[in-house]
Symmetry: C2
Amino acid sequence: MSTLDVRRRQILEAIIHCHTLTAQPVGSRVIAKRYNLGLSAATIRNAMADLEEMGYVMQPHTSAGRVPTELGYRFYVDSLMEVGILSEAEKIKIRLSYDDVRREFEYLMEQTSRILSTISHYVGVVMSPGLQTRVLKHFEIFQVSEDKLLAVLVVEPGVIRNRVLEKEETLTGEDLAKINNALKARFVGRSLIELQNLVDSPEQMRSMFDQQIFQEVSSLVRDALDVTYDPEIYLQGRSNIFSQPEFEDLRRMEAILDILEKKEQLSHLLDFSPGMEMGVYVRIGSEINCEAMEQCSVISAAYQWNQRPFGIIGVIGPTRMEYPRIVSIVDYTAKVMSQMLQNRLV
Amino acid sequence: MSTLDVRRRQILEAIIHCHTLTAQPVGSRVIAKRYNLGLSAATIRNAMADLEEMGYVMQPHTSAGRVPTELGYRFYVDSLMEVGILSEAEKIKIRLSYDDVRREFEYLMEQTSRILSTISHYVGVVMSPGLQTRVLKHFEIFQVSEDKLLAVLVVEPGVIRNRVLEKEETLTGEDLAKINNALKARFVGRSLIELQNLVDSPEQMRSMFDQQIFQEVSSLVRDALDVTYDPEIYLQGRSNIFSQPEFEDLRRMEAILDILEKKEQLSHLLDFSPGMEMGVYVRIGSEINCEAMEQCSVISAAYQWNQRPFGIIGVIGPTRMEYPRIVSIVDYTAKVMSQMLQNRLV
DNA sequence: ATTTAGCACTCTTAAAGCGAGAGTGCTAAG
DNA sequence: CTTAGCACTCTCGCTTTAAGAGTGCTAAAT
């Protein structure tokens, strides 16, 4: 009784399958008729009572059919479902959506979120990594007007940040060229956090630069490096939420949409703890740890760059979603995106 | 009769004022009681019948109060309302929200859309200009890996685009430096569309560069300039739509949210025809020219850079919105954003 | 001549009542 | 152990009903 025998597994699977299609409680008759398990409705009813006792399904009210619980979905995802295989057509569709990889990294992210939402019919999310640990590839300060400079930082696989700086009156074009060369030579190739620490320590700075340059460099560079390191997030398919009958409740919708507008909340949503291992992660309902999202599931995977996990992509949908299909979509898309990122640079 | 006398104006104003507060049809009794016009309900009823005949108000059904029509709002906006004056506190709140102007231009846009939505309680939008007519300020191609180059374009007030290029095996570091210098000298200071045309014409290119360099430059540069020129759009406050009782209908909500996700549609929404004059524009209901938005109004204004209209900001809300307040918010925010942009560069 | 009070009428909305239908659990027979 | 049968429960959609809000019209008042 404690573990599920074949029959109960089949019935649980049938309930989940049917419920994902209809969003309605599933009755014993339906299962008896539509799924040829060779059992009568009464037998199925008994099994369903067992499943309920074990916590895999529940009844919204006494005389309704069964609805899968979070535990039910969890068991289904872990032990029951077979990860669907994407059709070749769908794979091609995903690959072809990346029409122009050479554009900005932001475009790659936006495009990916669009793909995820279009073919999943749920909400697609893409998150870039925080920039702290990334390596500076190129650095340049140049003059854009009489009293303003623009610092441009190019970070590892083509992410760009920029920042406006006040120009000291005394600073000549030659000084600037000197500073630029000095900085390029010493800063490029190090991670941003490393540089940040370096800039904050006067001793290190002094040892790196000529006494003469040091004065001007010091505060200028500190400002130049003071860009956003936060991850960026791209999201598409918000209107898909409306197709889901379980979100008829306006308040719930509002709460969800509200979360989806807040960067921090969203990054918590995607940023799962297990050290960004590769593979697809499924979090169901309260596992997401966010009150407004208790009716949702998040399926996410890391995309990689240089064989290492980089950022995260994901699909947000109702707990009732078609896990096999979405898992395979997220999996494949993460792989293709990794490829695109790799082709793009390196 | 054809033009409105004072009394009818007052009553129309009262109807609109009351309706923006309650979202309900407004009856004659309410006006008689709450607005001290010194008139009885019956008199007001007569005036209301006149207003209805003239098309400024309508009844949802025979025995309901009056609701303003588009024409009514139009008249109100054009001739009745006094543009509210923002409180000093609100002004300060707006100005303080720009905590760090020196960050990327994108950040300025995002921040502005956030401000608009937070203090208007509707949807806030910010659109950047298309890049076609803008001037290239800085241009640099550099090597990021064995076989890849990265082209970075800095456009006028600090917008940045980048693009990945394939490196010809034969291209040496010296060649690249030469090309860079040649391009900087000849390209910086021209508008992107000008450059695009220039690159597409072999004769012009040939006349600009040494025969020796020309071969390598030609295709490389064409690729480098092939970035997105489309405007970018930032949007905040989607969840505010839910607070509006007129959008209880899920289908309508879905349609609106759907539009708000599509860049092109959104840019049409904001991009009003009258040649981007300064000042605040109000479009009401069907004036927006978008079926899903017939219950909405768009209030927009251009923000400027170097005394010239640059991009557009706006607020999207129900037709029932508090026009005086929102108009002044949009107006003031556009001005502050222009200042920020100006402080940022130039 | 305009304004106002009074009144009959209309239409919406919320609550209540009702019946059909779906699904269950239990029991007894296969 | 499985299945047929049956009584029971609960939801959902429908109609009915009553209350309330607001109007338009008419006749009196200013």
